[in-house]
Amino acid sequence: MIRALALILVLSLPAAAQEMIVSGLSQNRVSITADFDGSEILIYGAVKRDAPAPDGGPLEVIVTVEGPSAPVAVRRKGRVAGIWVNNASVTIDSAPSFYAVATTGPLTHILSDVDNLRYGITIERVIRAVGIASEADRAGEFILALLRVRTEEGRYRILEGKVELSEDTLFRTDIVLPANLTEGEYKVRLFLLRDKRVVASQERLIGVRKEGLERFIFNLAQQQPLIYGLVSLVLAAVAGWGASAAFRLIRV
């Protein structure tokens, strides 16, 4: 009797209070140096429980990594007088420069539409495009095109089944950051799910910054554009003269 009561008590408690995420990142900052050629980040963690694992569906884990967002223009070409020209354009208010979703299983099996909408987990739910219907006909196709183009570029990735979960407690996944990385704060979100519903979530940040020579050149270009332009010219002039002089020496 008492045991049955305890079970009811446990089941009626909010799920989030029962299971919590303890997580770690292999690195919480990524330095873009001159020889930067992409980076791999290990995201690992464990499920912390105050009580034995609740009954119900199996535990599932979703990890997302999101790069800084910016507005983008998506243009569509059409044939006008025999040549292909951009003749329709839609402005997407906000689209992340990088987005990866890693899961323990197929998204449709482990995540409900309601919770996807609520937590903004898949890329379609992260892109913000308000009022595009008035900008072009068949505006929805522009968003599909954005997803298609960026998936081909390796910027958007769906890695179903790439999160390893052992004994319903420990999980880990590797996310590869591409070489064409943009600077900024990268948001890592971790979700625990049972029965297609999110039972716990956590957020962490990875700082991606240019370092050394890259930092110096970028700052100079942004802060002292005139000096930067003139330095570029001097560089060109010196190199042009240098090569000419060098070849003259070789010849003599």
């Binding site: 020889d35 522009f142 970028f218 270009a221 042009g240 003269w241 090569a243 000419s244 070849f247």
Partner: protein
Amino acid sequence: MQLYLPIAEVSVNAFLILGLGGIVGFLSGMFGVGGGFLITPLLFFIGVPPAVAVATGANQVVASSISGVLAQLRRKGVDFQMGGVLLAGGVVGSAIGVWVFGIMTRLGQIDLFVQLSYVIFLGLIGTMMFQESLRSLLRSRRPGGAPIRRAHVHSWAHGLPFKFKFRASGLYISVIPPALIGAAVGFLSAIMGVGGGFILVPAMIYLLGMPTKVVIGTSLFQIIFVTSFTTVMHAVNSQTVDMLLALLLILGGVIGAQIGARVGVRLKAEQLRILLSLLVLTVSIRIAVDLLVTPSELYSVAPLVLP
């Protein structure tokens, strides 16, 4: 060896960029063209954003032109007087070009406008040069029929006022035609984002009647200034000059330009012109094909630059 470019924000193979710079520099030293019409499309192709490609390409052209001009200078192949007149016209033309560029950008059709300019001007000039040089090549091959080479042809241009003696070119003509040509080249280079050598070289040969030996050096001389101006304008207005990318292109380019200048001396003027015309035609056809063939992806994504 992979290298991350700080402004373009892409990782590229350093040797590939060196090679690209070398090939373009070689052509530039050989023909006296800056190579802007080659370097920009090539950079697009390896994934450098268009705005960065145009601006950095201009910076690279400065270096290869300086390298080329110094090589020409030793052969007394630069007419500074003519270069000065062309440049004066060029400044006016490029100011008008920048203004038209602004209008087309506001209309949202700048890409098309630039591509059409490439097709039309490269196609036109390439065809004209090819025809002419083929004809003169055939004429010189005919046995006994040595080419009748007149020192200069008298035309309407000789009746114009403000005559000036261009010593290095051996011409005594009015400054109006070269100034107008300079203006036209300045206008086109502002719109197409190139130095304009491929227009300047044939214009100096066919319209001004300058001897081929000073044409290349004088063309490079004018290109140095036009592209320097473009580089600084892009650096200030849009921060799109990538110094690291430029440095790699320049290293390859200056070496290529020196080799190109040596090879160019060994070729006959007609052969040189026929090769340049074929190159110009190839680029023109390539861009025309892009406009005519159904693209595999109808959509394109570009980061929105807020005004």
